[in-house]
Symmetry: D2
Amino acid sequence: MNLEHNTYGKADVQVLKVFRQGERHSVRELSVSVRVEGSAFAMNYTASDNASCVPTDTIKNNVYATAAEHLKDEAIELFAERLADNYLRRYSVIEKVTVSIDETAWNRVNNHEHSFQQAGGGRHYCVVEADRDGMEVSSGLTGLTVLKTSGSGFAGFHECDRTVLQPTDDRLMATTVTADWAFAGGSAYESARDKVVDCFLTVFSEEFSPSVQRTLYRVGEEVLGAVPEIAAITMSLPNEHYFPVDLERIGAKSNGTLFYPSKSPFGDIEATVTR
Amino acid sequence: MNLEHNTYGKADVQVLKVFRQGERHSVRELSVSVRVEGSAFAMNYTASDNASCVPTDTIKNNVYATAAEHLKDEAIELFAERLADNYLRRYSVIEKVTVSIDETAWNRVNNHEHSFQQAGGGRHYCVVEADRDGMEVSSGLTGLTVLKTSGSGFAGFHECDRTVLQPTDDRLMATTVTADWAFAGGSAYESARDKVVDCFLTVFSEEFSPSVQRTLYRVGEEVLGAVPEIAAITMSLPNEHYFPVDLERIGAKSNGTLFYPSKSPFGDIEATVTR
Amino acid sequence: MNLEHNTYGKADVQVLKVFRQGERHSVRELSVSVRVEGSAFAMNYTASDNASCVPTDTIKNNVYATAAEHLKDEAIELFAERLADNYLRRYSVIEKVTVSIDETAWNRVNNHEHSFQQAGGGRHYCVVEADRDGMEVSSGLTGLTVLKTSGSGFAGFHECDRTVLQPTDDRLMATTVTADWAFAGGSAYESARDKVVDCFLTVFSEEFSPSVQRTLYRVGEEVLGAVPEIAAITMSLPNEHYFPVDLERIGAKSNGTLFYPSKSPFGDIEATVTR
Amino acid sequence: MNLEHNTYGKADVQVLKVFRQGERHSVRELSVSVRVEGSAFAMNYTASDNASCVPTDTIKNNVYATAAEHLKDEAIELFAERLADNYLRRYSVIEKVTVSIDETAWNRVNNHEHSFQQAGGGRHYCVVEADRDGMEVSSGLTGLTVLKTSGSGFAGFHECDRTVLQPTDDRLMATTVTADWAFAGGSAYESARDKVVDCFLTVFSEEFSPSVQRTLYRVGEEVLGAVPEIAAITMSLPNEHYFPVDLERIGAKSNGTLFYPSKSPFGDIEATVTR
């Protein structure tokens, strides 16, 4: 038998840090997951020998300690890089470490000094993969749900004996964006993220969408044009259907204003755009 | 055997309506649940006789038809009232109807004419109970999650041999507000809701909290003072604990900035404030 | 202003206890919630005075301590009673206590001495309300999902201009049972629960169902007949629709065998049967 | 700009099929997801040209039609293979198709002819990837939650200044198994799945576990020994912690029987075992 691949670590280490500048506080709340790899870990599996094993409890404790000493009020990617570097320096047995961070965002209540409200509008995450030769950083966002009531159609598609769908030049279109992008260099992570959101919302709202696929690609073009440091962007845009209610058979006037969400099954569109 | 109580209906009828004023659209997305009661329905249970039974499919269709014809871009309570009235008028067999509506809120993307982003920051709901003698309206909000990093303590409490908790005059406090309020009259539902949120956020952020209980009551006082039409308000304020990480035993400096969420178990505080 | 009603406590205190009889172990895993009431607690709200307040942390600790000393491998209702009694005896300020327990069931793996597999097929819960004058016990089950492919119809119902549903004497019927029942006395909680499940499954499978309502009532009749200690039973039986797929318009033969689940919206049927 | 990779399809197409052999029925309930790839689909993205696009609605309809005509009461892998083959034959534009099926299992109620109860104890799934050159089949199970109260330890691990964990030769161990395995050939999918579950439960219950890692590998060894057709197995075994309650500080006797689940953060162990 052969142990082809293995990885272990601690997932979902949740931590909130308070930054106090006099009376004015700020907070960051993160869920951190750390996975490590190294050739010495094979013996944990094949020989019941734990000598090389850094316990997942220790991995967790090191997240806490590093957050206490090194987490700043800044892009989560920077803390993920620092944390990845820390594991590689502390534990020679670790050859590769993957740090994933997912942020719970808090907004200030009425610009108050120490009161916050949990933000909506999607979550940010990042993944840093690091070994002794370097790091790769990717950033992502998920849970941004949007809908347009005009400016979307779908026509000219392949037809066959299974086709029921009618072509249309005016339909509702809704999706919950998941996007992640890889950096070719640089560390302007927060401005990159803002630009990705801005490109998405601009293309989504301003351009006619002849298909989810086309809109996805147009966003990719705009993002790569706007952010030189982004090498590639992958988007997953589920087509969350809203269908017109058939009012005629229930004795009501059908005027094209009433829809019901039918989120399962859903169209499942995903692609990667690179330079 | 005796059929002591019975109710039936259709739950979670989801509907999105588009309002088109020229190029400028707006949308409302609702989940509507309707429950009906009436003495004639007993025979559906006790005698296998369905003659009095308005099928739940029909109840659903009537939600759609009424939404198509009568849902406006206005407070959900007004549509719930109209819908309740509609069931009582259409079906003489219905003696009481309860309409519950839960709203999924959409905000405009960059003030765009027909593009929307799903809003965070809590959900609105309402419940209208109506019979031939009148209606009772209550409104609610849920899912508003807040946190304060200062201005909260808990001390002077009962102590016994099960006590481990230390008194403190400075702790983190976090909660996810669920509140519902009953109206003594009037129909200024949206301004009432705005004032409830405003009272909550103001008391939460501006006043020192000696206990979740005290904060709850102070919000109630402010709401009843600010909105004469509200007869009573019930709040449920789970105490979502954030505990300090014990850094000393893992070799890191403890400076009171690092916390971990421990949301289960949670303190469970609920009360009703009336005039 | 008036504090009309208040209650507080600790929710979702999760605990697993191991019972070791030599090499053979057994386990019980519970989520316990405790809510207390008492006239002295009003001052926690109205006067910022915590002197009467038993902290929710203490309430939690007492769940642990009581479980360590008094939880046996027996019906959860018996532990809930013991726990309720314990709070009343320990804290004179508590006038009423409500203990709710929800069980995560574990089955033995292959009759193994100390290895267990989490059980499916629904969850058990109970609620004990106790004050200085006595206790009321109710038991419940939830999450029992059943389906029948024959022996169910719905016809002879009220028709109107909103009616689309066709009468049928053969349809699929599916539901997820939630039931709770109150005891008039006795403590044969586990055998009562077994009989409730047995009555439900027998009526559901053996009898033709002319409506969900009728099936609900028939189960109630059987339960009250089979278990003299049960004073009343409330059931909630959502009608989880499975609709036939319309195969003809996609060029496939329609032979009445293919259905798709459409669980939202759902029929919402609830009633209480008493003696 | 370059469209590096793209895929689209329909996800979560839910279907229940009834098999009627006289009075005795059986049912299969599946969630089917289909993703397709092909070089011609690029123009949907880069040129707003939908001519090659088989709509996801059509993809869904073909799941229904194929299920109506070809779904048998047999291993889900066989239907996934048939479905994958069907897409490749019907649509020349599709170069690769991935069919994923997730099953909701139903057990008979008391051996009844047409009444069923939803099964617990984990879910089965499979993934078939097919192109013009052949197919690859993998099977999986998820949601099998197990716990052992003895026969598990963790000691001899790496220690450092972040170490708090004490070595132990007796701890609780709990996990929720996710496993998937690839076939080198053959089609005895159901017996393979039964043997995987059996190997897992046997190793888990019968062997002392010096670490989650070691137990994972031992299961892999047993599976590869028992099922020659399985080429590789990947397991993910989260270490779902149950920690002892610290009873001493709350005035109760500590006798090592009481634990609380602390499922977040969790140890995250994953590996692939091959021949």
